[in-house]
C-alpha cells in the first residue's frame, strides 16, 4: 500500500496555492515528514489528500484514486487532523474520542469503548477521561485531538503540526508513539512539522515544499536536509549534523536576509 500524489494543483480563486505537486510517495509503517516554510502550502497539500480541498490531479492509494470515494468513505481511509484543533465543546475527553471512533453508530459497542480506553492510556490521557474539553490546557486538548485521529485507525493518517502546543516531554512522547504505531499497525503517517531536528530524527522519508507551492525535494532526511537547500528554501544559514551516536541536529544560525529589507530596525 502506497500513497502517491501526482500533478496536484490547487487554486483559491485565481491564486495558485499548489502548482503541479508530484512525485510524492508515502509508505506504510514509517513516518513521512512534510516540511517547508510558512505559506508553502503544507496544510493545503494535506487537506487535498484528505479530499477537503478541491484540486486537480491524482491522489491514490495503491491503484485506487481517492476521488472514487464519497466524503464519509474517504474519511474512513484517510484522516486529516487540522492544525490548532481541539474545541471547548461540552463533552468529556472520553466522549470526544468515542465520537471520532463510533461514527454514525447510535449505541456504544464494547469494542469501541475498549479502543478508546486503550488510546487514552497510550497518550497518557486516561486520568483526564471525565474532564470536559473546556477544562483542559491547550496541550492536553491537542493530545485529545491526536487521540481522536488515531482511534479511527485510518489507513492514512495526516497530522498538521500535531506537536505545536506540546511541551518537550510530550513532543518526544507523541512522536515516538506515532512511529511505533505506524510500524505496528502498518499505517501511513504523514506529519507537517516545523522542527527540522525532530523531523530528521523521527521520519524515514521527507517532502520539502518551497514558496510558490512547489515540491523542492523528496527523499530520506539525509538527502533532503542539506545546508545549501535550507539556505535556498528557508533563507537561513544552518548547521546540519548527523552524529553517529546521537539524534540528528539542525541548528539554525542566522537568517540570510531580514524581513522587510536591509534596515528594518531603523525604519521601525
Amino acid at each position: 500500500m502506497t500513497l502517491t500524489v501526482e500533478a496536484l494543483s490547487v487554486r483559491f480563486g485565481s491564486t495558485p496555492i499548489l502548482r503541479d505537486v508530484g512525485g510524492l510517495r508515502a509508505q506504510p509503517g514509517e513516518l513521512t515528514a512534510l516540511i517547508g516554510p510558512n505559506g508553502a502550502g503544507k496544510s493545503t497539500l494535506l487537506r487535498s489528500i484528505a479530499g477537503i480541498e478541491r484540486y486537480s490531479g491524482q491522489v491514490s492509494l495503491d491503484e485506487t484514486l481517492l476521488d472514487s470515494f464519497d466524503i464519509a468513505e474517504r474519511a474512513r481511509h484517510v484522516y486529516y487532523l487540522p492544525q490548532d484543533s481541539g474545541t471547548r465543546a461540552a463533552l468529556s475527553v472520553f466522549e470526544a474520542v468515542l465520537l471520532a471512533r463510533r461514527t454514525t453508530h447510535v449505541s456504544d459497542r464494547r469494542h469501541d469503548l475498549q479502543r478508546v480506553r486503550h488510546t487514552l492510556q497510550s497518550l497518557e490521557l486516561e486520568a483526564y477521561a471525565e474532564r470536559d474539553l473546556g477544562q483542559l490546557s491547550g496541550g492536553q486538548r491537542q493530545r485529545v485531538a491526536i487521540a481522536q485521529a488515531v482511534v479511527r485507525e485510518p489507513r492514512v493518517l495526516m497530522l498538521d503540526e500535531p506537536t505545536s502546543a506540546l511541551d518537550l516531554h510530550h513532543q518526544l512522547q507523541v512522536l515516538e508513539w506515532l512511529v511505533a504505531m505506524a510500524r505496528e499497525r502498518n499505517m501511513i503517517v504523514v506529519i507537517a512539522i516545523h522542527d527540522l531536528s525532530l523531523a530528521a530524527r523521527f521520519s524515514r522519508h521527507m517532502w520539502l515544499m518551497g514558496n510558490g507551492g512547489r515540491v523542492q525535494a523528496v527523499g530520506t532526511p539525509r538527502e533532503v536536509l542539506t545546508e545549501a537547500r535550507l539556505r535556498e528554501v528557508y533563507a537561513i544559514h544552518a548547521h546540519v549534523d548527523w552524529p553517529a551516536d546521537e539524534p540528528p541536529r539542525v541548528t539554525p544560525l542566522s537568517a540570510t536576509r531580514s524581513l522587510g529589507g536591509t534596515s528594518s530596525w531603523q525604519n521601525f
Binding site: 466524503i71 487540522p82 471547548r88 478508546v116 480506553r117 473546556g134
Partner: protein, 355 residues
Amino acid sequence: MTAAPAVDTDTSIDRYLARRRKHYWLLAVTALLTCLSLLADISIGPGQYSIGEVLGAIAAPESAPRALSVIVWEIRLPVALMAIVVGMSLAGAGAEMQTILNNPLADPFTLGVSAAASFGAALAIVMGVAIFPGAEELLTTLNAFIMAMAASMLIWLVSRLRGVSVQTMVLMGIALMFFFNAMLGILQYIASAESLQQLIFWSLGSLSRASWPKVGIAALALVVTLPIFFYAGWRLTALRMGDLQARALGVNVPRLRLVILLCSSLLAATAVAFVGTVGFIGLVGPHIARMLVGEDQRIFLPMSALTGALLMSLTSIASKTLIPGVLLPIGIITALIGLPFFVSLILRSRREVWG
C-alpha cells in the same frame, strides 16, 4: 490452572458508562417533572375543580359533568399540551441553531425568525393582507409562518455566498431582526387602535388561542423534524469539533447546516405562528440541558426539548396563578422570571464551551 484475570473495576469505560447512566436518570427526572407540570397545568384554572375530578374527566369524559368535560377537553388540555409542544419546538430549534451556528446566542429570537413571524402576523392583523390566500381563519398564523420561513431562507442564501462564516450568518440574523422590527413599527404606527391592541396581544405571546387542530399541526412539525435531528445526531456532535475537523471526520458540513437550519426554522416558525413571540425558551432550554448532560446529541437533544417543555409548562401555570383571575401573557413571564434565573445559572456555572 490459570487464575482469572484481575477485573479492573474503575476504568475510564466504567466511569463513562456511569456518566451516561446519570444522564439518562436526569432525562427521566425531567420527563417526570414535565408530566407533573402538565397535570398541574390542566388542574389549575378559574373553575375550581380537584385534580381527581379533572383526571376523571380526562379518563371518562362521558361520565363527567358536561361543564367540566368541556372545560378540560376544549380549553385546558389543548392549552397545556400546546405549552409542551411549543416548549419542545422552541428549545429543540434553539439547540440545533446554537449547534450549527457555533454560537451560544443563536435562537429563533436572535436570528430574526421570531421578528419575521411577528411582522407576518401584523400584516394579517393590521392590513388584512394574506400572503397565502384562502385560509381566512388561519390568516395570522399562516402569514407568521411564511415570513419566518422566508427569513431563515434568506439567512441560508447568504450563507451560500463564498467565504461567509457562521458569524456572518448570525450577524445577518440580527440584521433581519432589526429590519423586521422596524417594519413592524411602521405597521404599528399606521394601525387602528383596535388592531394595534390585537397586535400587541399577539406579540406578547399567548397559549389561550390553542385548539386541537393547532396542537396537532405543531406536534406534526415535531414528528417530522425530531427524527431528522436524531438521524443527524452524530454529525451534529462532530460539528462541535469545528468545521474543519467535522469535515475530516466525513461530515458534509454545508449540507448538514442547510438541512438543520431549515428543520429548526420550521419548528420555530410553527411554534411562533401559533403562540406568538415567546422569547428565551429557545435560548435557555438548550443552555440548561448543556450544563446538565453536555453536548452529545444523543442525550443533548432530548434533554433540550424536555427542558423547554418543562419551562413552557411551568410558564403556563405561572401565567394563570401569579395574579389570581388574570391571565398574564406568557412572553412577559418567560422574560421577567426566566431571565434572572438564567443569568444566575450562567454566572454560577462559568463553564466555557464556546472556543
